[in-house]
Symmetry: C2
């Protein structure tokens, strides 16, 4: 049995896999409605929001597309905060649908600077919306969303947050931080296989929706809302993942979200400390290190591709590589959702044995 | 255990449910690549095509949106053949993205007339693309796609086919019938839970893609093609459903697609004959009756909502109701994918007992 330690899909608990194997039911019948309503209410607890929360069938990127097309019109000025692959992807989507996107780029591995965002907003009053990646999965950086939110909301802009790899693992109180649209994906800390994306929509986002003229049918929030009033979805949903989500949410709420967040902090720190003790160099700025994914950069002759290959093929531990310009430059360890201190001990112990075989001449 | 006899989601075989319960793997690793490539190759056999076939994560409606945005530009003239809910939905999508859609409407329950399509194409040379629903799930009608295709391709138009509830159950030789884009959904005859949609793309469709200016990122065919060259998907896919599809395709190809089609013909006929023997009135024109779903209209005092409620709550057999303007007018029996003569005998025997309780005063 392999140990999956990539930043999503994450391993699923037995209860979740059992739910995935449930026989199909009528997605327009009472049994589905009960499950859908319960899952939606429990999702809101984890989102810490009174806003609408929709369960859409698709990948996380589909949720980013949904956030864009439901709140923007072609020509809208958008500030896109970017410090990795996913910030750039969000901008690509908005641009493809005709938004006028101004990128605000920060070095990969660093967190966005709220003061720079404030300055960018002050410099261009026509900006309507700010896109932020809460947890940049490609580099392992969590931004200071609380402060960024203050800056964005003080300036009266719409705040759209990619929280695909943070929400449910890292504290993100959607209402307290006034986040207008927040997107998360089932295959991350939610411990559910990929196929669902969750989106919260604030009153202010609904106002933006009224004027948003980007074309949309499949991802349309209003259709989702109308169907949800009957406990349904506009299109046939990934029923199995909704069963699985229902089971996973029960586990998350039984553990208590504060405890889940604390566990991720504990495990994030343990991972970083363990890697440093092996003499490895962390890629992300430690002040903003993510508690769901840690990236390690090459140093002392380390061949990061060799590390992941040997770890997988000889020891059955699957780590992530670097994406795009970080390909071959870093490797990544996912530690979100179903993860314990023991899992991290396994990774660290195994790494210790593997590093010399991957060219590492450090301690 | 309920018997699910709605036109999707359909019941899944044990092998498929077992695959759904498999633990997550790396969607960028060799194990996934092998599964993805095998599933894609086997899909092509069922599509009977050498064209590209993509596995996208989403509902069937997402596949319709994908077909539109990858082949059309705003302002393009589109002929939309409509004889039910799904033909209309296809037109709604194309219109929302700016196409200039001419509807060609046929009575619900009837099949589209190829001669009328020929006439409509002759009347407006500026039409670029024709949208056709192979099997209208809302009414239980299968169109004469072979003849329609000849008409459309003789006129030199692009042919886009919604085959969501037909492909894998009803013969649709994509290459022989020159269908340019064909869409099908996992939760129908494929015996896989909802969450995947399959799309075939011909050379002519790729030519249309080159000029198509509707905005797209998530559904973009070119991104799908580029990723598939590495045995991957551009965005994290519904991995579990791909495992399940792999298992289901093995079963379909083991049975042999000709045998699968023959079984659906046999069971479709058995269903219709059995219903008529009960004195019930079929809704769809029998010459074009679908072999995946049969609709029954109210007659002799029959309360169709009462039928489905009693069948479900007292006998555990779940049937479908009518959609939109057919709500309360018809009920529907799904018989695609995992279905045997015994399943239909169960439905018919139970119906016989239930009909008098639902106001039916016929034979």
């Amino acid at each position: 049995m392999k140990q999956l330690r990539i930043p999503g899909p994450t391993p699923c608990p037995d209860e979740v896999l059992k739910a995935m194997a449930m026989q199909m039911i009528n997605h327009r019948g009472p049994e589905f409605v009960a499950t859908m309503n319960r899952a939606t209410e429990n999702l809101k607890k984890v989102f810490q929001t009174q806003n609408d929360v929709f369960i859409l069938t698709g990948s996380g990127t589909g949720g980013l597309e949904a956030a864009a097309v439901n709140t923007m019109s072609p020509g809208d000025k958008i500030l896109s905060v970017q410090n990795g692959v996913f910030g750039e992807r969000f901008a690509t989507i908005a641009s493809a649908f005709g938004a006028d996107v101004t990128p605000l780029k920060f070095e990969w591995g660093q967190a966005p600077d709220p003061a720079a965002i404030e300055k960018a907003l002050a410099a261009d009053a026509s900006i309507k919306t700010v896109l932020v990646t809460h947890n940049e999965t490609s580099t392992g950086v969590t931004c200071d969303l609380k402060t960024i939110s203050k800056v964005v909301k003080n300036a009266g802009k719409l705040l759209v947050v990619d929280a695909i790899s943070s929400l449910s693992s890292i504290n993100l109180p959607v209402d307290e931080w006034q986040c207008d649209v927040v997107i998360s994906g089932s295959q991350k800390g939610w411990m559910v296989p990929p196929g669902l994306v969750f989106v919260s929509v604030s009153q202010e986002a609904w106002k933006a929706y009224e004027n948003a003229r980007m074309p949309r049918v499949y991802w349309d929030f209003s259709r989702a809302k109308k169907s949800l009033e009957k406990g349904q979805t506009p299109w046939t949903p990934a029923v199995s993942q909704i069963f699985a989500l229902d089971a996973a949410l029960t586990m998350i709420l039984d553990e208590g979200i504060e405890n889940v967040f604390a566990r991720h902090i504990r495990i994030g720190e343990k991972t970083r400390n363990g890697l440093k003790a092996l003499g490895l160099k962390l890629f992300a700025d430690e002040k903003h290190a993510s508690n769901t994914v840690t990236s390690v950069q090459s140093s002392n002759g380390l061949d990061t591709k060799k590390v992941t290959t040997i770890m997988r093929d000889e020891y059955g531990i699957v780590l992530g590589g670097g994406q795009q310009k970080l390909d071959g430059q870093i490797f990544r360890i996912g530690h979100m959702g179903l993860v314990s201190e023991n899992n991290i001990d396994d990774v660290l112990t195994t790494l210790k044995a593997v590093l010399p075989k991957a060219g590492f001449s450090g301690k």
